[in-house]
Symmetry: C2
Subunit: 343 residues, 2 copies
DNA sequence: CTGTTAGCGCCTTCAT
DNA sequence: ATGAAGGCGCTAACAG
């Protein structure tokens, strides 16, 4: 089976030097062949390639990185790989990486600033060419020396602080506007807002936009209908009963992120209210629910591609000023948001 | 803001040598402090730490890896990061990696053997300590030299070929048995089987188990009810009409993987059959559908933790024979599988 | 406890 | 077109 020593005992991997000896050429000639540099005669090329094959030689990237200074590595730091939004980002980055001969390191923060810092420091020790991240900590100042040294930083979903970086952000305000306009158009006025912890940038932008949109429609916000917290099954259950089990219950819910939406759906499944729901962020199977989920969808792919675009532009010019790109969002109507208020 | 040169122009990163000079000590002393080796006086430690801080020194992991031979890197090669099963795997590996000071590289194959090979070769050039993969290619022989050299390979979901590796597999036969038993118990006999491409190991195991289970119940398999193909929206639509639009339609569907199930649900949403459905693999929001999805759930977490366990055991002993662990699966009853056949 | 020397595997520079 | 020497940044193996 196995071409080499049939998984024998601990063989060392052959080095370029050994290949050179085997082929009867100088080290540098092997290097030339491996790197496909010009000016090697066909004969020597053949000899070297034969030796490479016989020895099962594979170049040691650590050594190459050390010598060249560039690593061909992209670091991605996100909350969670299971979130469809970040999964799309990861997929897009991986695709680009392979097409450019790079490799992707992934680190997860779980929205914990300390973990973000740990992961990032672990990563920068590996000298990635670029870092793509969804920051959660208050400052990313600790990355400054590496930005100075040429590492390209692009953030997605949220901006960075304390460093010069590009950012790709969703049009949070526009999305909330569309959602509120839609619900008001159906006749709703008691619209509850269920959002994430205000530590998170998007959560802050969205709740501000909610208040602004309500004001625009001259609807006074009932503070008892505004709930900002981490989306746990239990917490959302309590929140739902807070906004629905009261004399003047909310007639519509605006859920401001996908994890909250999933828990809201779980919570509503155990109740018999007929309440409208619009979600900021779509769910993977949102079209299969009944009613279908009316959602403001962010295009994760567009955002990911934008981030990669910014990164490739920044790579050759690492010290240019940071740019921010806002990506539009789109309201998708499927049923849950078109439930009218009880008349 | 920025502690360092305020994102000035392209500064080189300081090296250990420069730190040593600044602190007035030898290179090796800095190395000792950085690596928290014993036998450094508190005074020198303080001096060195001060110099590190002033210069914003961070160790260069490439150099360290080259010197030490170990890289503190785990490579993960899977079909798609967006698949909840593989997302769980990625999450578990990342968690372990951070706790052990390692870093995770992720590569995606999209079930393409060539991409698998490319990605793996790119990765092994980086000399990961371990490789965790869901193989798709016929052989992973090309990894043999690196396995010989001590790289620990653990596969998940499917076994490897041509190399010595550990494997974590789901109890595919047991899961199919449970599904068929359940459907037969409801009175179904015309049970269609919708599976994935037979290139995939699990697809093969599952269809074999389907035939065996049917035989056990003395039900002759109608070959027109067995469909194996890549799960595309269009393809599944055609398949559904093939098994349902006929004089003696299937009364139950066994969908043999999560992507197929998602497309089956989409397809059924556009039809008005009342057909039972059991899925091998659960969906993230399977509990929110109506009826809820009856599914044979693999525990991605258990499988991931098992893989990590095998990996950590293999790491110090890379040449031990490969082990295979089967992880049990569990039928979760939620409604879709309890629809009786038309009487 | 501290420092010196050598070399990990490769690429860059310069010679031939 | 080919090769020899030097060094990327760090740590292992020895001195002192």
């Amino acid at each position: 089976m196995s071409v080499s020593g049939v998984n024998g005992t601990g063989q060392r991997r052959p080095t370029m030097k050994e290949v050179a000896a085997r082929a009867g050429v100088a080290l540098k000639t092997v290097s030339r062949v491996v790197n496909e540099e010009p000016n090697v005669s066909p004969e020597l090329t053949a000899k070297v390639q034969a030796a490479i094959k016989e020895l099962n030689y594979t170049p040691n990237e650590s050594a190459r990185m050390l010598r060249r200074g560039r690593t061909g590595t992209i670091a991605v730091v996100i909350r969670d790989i299971g979130d469809p939004f970040f999964a799309s980002l990861g997929r897009a980055v991986e695709l680009w990486a392979r097409s450019s001969g790079s490799v992707v390191m992934i680190g997860l923060t779980d929205e914990d600033p300390e973990r973000e810092r740990d992961v990032c420091l672990e990563f920068v020790a590996r000298r990635p060419d670029a870092l793509i991240m969804a920051p959660i900590g208050e400052t990313q100042e600790y990355l400054a020396p590496h930005v100075d040294a040429g590492m390209a930083v692009v953030t997605i979903d949220r901006p960075a602080h304390g460093i010069e970086a590009d950012a790709v952000l969703a049009d949070n305000a526009g999305g909330i506007d569309q959602a509120i306009d839609h619900l008001v158009r159906q006749g709703h006025r008691r619209i509850a807002y269920l959002g994430d912890d205000e530590r998170i940038f998007t959560a802050r932008e969205r709740v501000v936009a909610y208040r602004a949109a309500m004001a625009r429609h001259r609807i006074e916000v009932d503070e008892d209908l505004v709930h900002l917290s981490e989306p746990t099954t239990e917490g959302i259950g309590i929140t739902l009963s807070a906004v629905l089990d009261r004399p003047d219950p909310a007639t519509a819910l605006l859920s401001a992120n996908n994890m909250t939406t999933a828990e809201v759906l779980r919570g509503l499944a155990g109740r018999r209210d007929r309440v409208a729901l619009v979600s900021f962020d779509d769910l993977q199977l949102g079209d299969l629910l009944s009613p279908g989920l009316t959602a403001v969808a962010q295009s994760a792919d567009v955002m990911a591609r934008t981030a990669i675009q910014l990164m490739t532009e920044r790579l050759p010019e690492p010290h240019r000023p940071g740019r921010t790109v806002r990506v539009p969002v789109k309201l998708t109507i499927r049923g849950s948001g078109e439930i009218p208020p009880p008349s």
